[in-house]
Amino acid sequence: MTDVSQVLVASGAIDPQPSVEIVGMNKWYGNYHALKDIDLVVAEGERLVVCGPSGSGKSTMIRCINGLEDYQEGSIHVDGTLLSSDVKDIDKVRSDVGMVFQHFNLFPHLSILENCVLAPTWVRKMPQKEAKDIAMHFLERVKIPDQAHKYPGQLSGGQQQRVAIARSLCMQPRIMLFDEPTSALDPEMIKEVLDTMITLAEDGMTMICVTHEMGFARQAADRVIFMDAGQIIEENAPDQFFDDPQSPRTKMFLNQILGH
């Protein structure tokens, strides 16, 4: 742990081991300063929604949490493991952190069931039978067990995204990251994916969701973070965040997405 976080732990400001702890994180793409002094602590079981205009760095930030992007300054601890350039640490964090992408990123050459079984058998070294049972369990939870032997290309977008959620859950992650999970979906399918996410939130999963679904944020989030220009601008409980935004930038953003 870093000095800052040790002080914070000693002062009782945060739990001894938060799920995610980002301290003074900075990221550049070449000369472009993409993330500026990000400090963020996510407690176990907390549901966090990150919103903000496009290009604000919100996706980049959660991609840093499972090492899909590297960072140049500061530190990120996930369940106590420091994300550095150490490949073994990154692989360990990734196996404990599920990620759901905007474009699903299912493996088109594998069936739905194979998509779900792959990582548990190879990363967790789980016996095939057990991995299949777990996969079917989660496919039932996202309500598509009957599609298990189809290929991703044969499913609708909403179904694919629910499979992607089930695939991540099969690794029995401690944290789930959602990177705009409904942005690529037709309006009719958004609800089925959000319902799945709400069920997951109700079960107590630690979740960090980059999303513009403000209804979901109100219903399921413990905390909402607003980002702009690579920085965290505002951070509040959902009700206060939506009813009484403090920063003018937040007000403008909320007006634009809610007021049309």
Binding site: N66, G67, L68, V87, D91, K92, R94, S95, D96, V97, G98, M99, F101, H103, F104, N105, L106, F107, P108, H109, L110, L118, A119, W122, V123, Y151, P152, G153, Q154, R167, S168, M171
Partner: protein, 436 residues
């Protein structure tokens, strides 16, 4: 603006699905639609038809009047003249009847023809489980061992040579497994390869002579210069095809590597090998390669050619596969990464299956080109089918014969290349059906 007398439309019942209309079929319709649909089409069809008729008309008597039993070209012409035909009115297939064994096997000892034939059967048997996924996966062990058996059958000599070669691979494999406990996977692979190479360079020949001394296991040796004809083309071509694919995959991956050293080695290798004509590399194999090898190792010319052709093909295959890798959406890499799969797991199970699927037509295209390029070895004094044909033409009996020999050779190559092309189509269709 309102439209008068036009009430709002509300559908009260959903239309049931109907069967599609029956399409008119039949041969006349097909002909009219595809061959005679417009004046231009009619003219083109007539021209093609005319050309086909002319070709058949010219070729058919030559084939039909072909002489199959004769001692020499002169004898052939006598037979043709006896039935009132000119010397060019009929083919003289007797040359194939007389010399097919040379065209197929070169100067391989005729009492040992069974060995290349058996090697071919073993090779095809080993290839089957790789080509057809429905065969049991356990047969892949046989696929791994078949090339060594083929080598032994073709060249003969001590069976300890291929066994020691397998041993070297096993040693390298074990070394990688042991080293990976302490080192990162890349370093472990490098270390394993180094240990394997040390075995090949230092321990190999002494192990073979030692084992041969204790338990001799030899069959009659056949020197490379006795290889020839289609068998030589097949030996070089098929070995290079089988070896260049894995090497090409590794090169393509290396070229995408994050490690600059590996990346630059791959780039330099690919660009240098691609940038120089194959014939130059073949001359290099013939003349120069021995200078680079430790003194005393006499390295068979055919083996040297196989290595060169393999490296040459691998550079091309690597570029083709790089295209496939580049065509994969970035999300596939990220999806695999986010699940915690290691680089090699992700590469093997997610990236390569999709990249190879994209590259199949181009890979097979390379293989077909490579197989035909083996005829270039005629320039470094190896008797491939063309070389044998020239030798046959140089004999007094068959001096002056051209078409029959080259038709036969062309047919041999066509059969193999066409088989590859058909398999490629089969595989594409199969994979497309598997996951749209």
């Amino acid at each position: 603006m309102t439209v008068p007398n036009k009430p709002a439309f509300v559908r009260t019942e959903i239309l049931p699905a109907k069967a599609p209309p029956v399409r008119a079929t039949g041969i006349t319709l097909w002909v009219r639609k595809n061959l005679l649909s417009s004046w231009l089409n009619v003219i083109l069809t007539s021209l093609v038809l005319y050309a086909l008729i002319r070709i058949t008309y010219g070729l058919w008597p030559w084939l039909a009047n072909g002489v199959w039993e004769a001692d020499s070209l002169a004898h052939c012409r006598e037979i043709l003249a006896a039935s009132g035909l000119g010397p060019t009115d009929g083919a003289c297939f007797a040359v194939i009847n007389d010399r097919w064994h040379q065209l197929l096997f070169g100067f391989y000892p005729s009492e040992l023809y069974w060995r290349p034939i058996l090697a071919m059967i073993l090779f095809l048997g080993g290839l089957a489980p790789i080509l057809f996924f429905s065969l049991p996966r356990s047969l892949l062990t046989f696929s791994c061992l078949a090339p060594f058996a083929c080598f032994w059958l073709l060249w003969g000599g001590s069976a300890w040579v291929p066994l020691a070669a397998i041993g070297g691979l096993v040693i390298a494999g074990l070394a990688i497994r042991v080293l990976s406990k302490w080192l990162s996977s890349t370093l472990a692979v490098c270390g394993g390869i180094a240990i394997g190479l040390i075995f090949y360079l230092i321990g190999f020949s002494s192990f073979v002579s030692f084992a041969e001394g204790i338990f001799p296991l030899s069959i009659q040796q056949v020197a490379s210069r006795e290889f020839g004809g289609f068998m030589l083309a097949a030996t070089i071509g098929l070995s290079a095809i089988v070896l260049s694919l894995p090497l090409g995959i590794l090169l393509a991956l290396a070229r995408q590597s994050d490690l600059p050293l590996i990346k630059w080695c791959a780039i330099v290798f690919i660009e240098v090998v691609r940038g120089v004509p194959l014939i130059v590399w073949l001359f290099t194999a013939q003349l120069l390669l021995n200078y680079f090898l430790p003194p005393g190792t006499s390295f068979d010319l055919t083996l040297r050619v196989i290595i060169m052709v393999t490296l040459f093909a691998a550079a091309y295959i690597a570029e083709v596969i790089r295209g496939g890798l580049a065509a994969l959406p970035k999300g596939q890499y990220e999806g695999a990464d986010s699940l915690g799969l290691s680089y090699w797991q992700a590469t093997r199970m997610i990236i390569l299956p999709q990249a190879l699927k994209i590259s199949i037509p181009a890979i097979v295209n390379e293989f077909i080109g490579l197989f035909k390029d083996t005829t270039l070895v005629v320039f470094i004094g190896l008797l491939d089918p063309i070389g044998v044909a020239r030798a046959i033409q140089a004999t007094p009996e068959w001096n002056g014969i051209y078409w029959e020999l080259f038709t036969f050779i062309g047919l041999l190559f066509f059969v193999v290349c066409y088989a590859m092309a058909r398999y490629s189509l089969h595989l594409e269709n199969k994979l497309r059906r598997g996951h749209n």
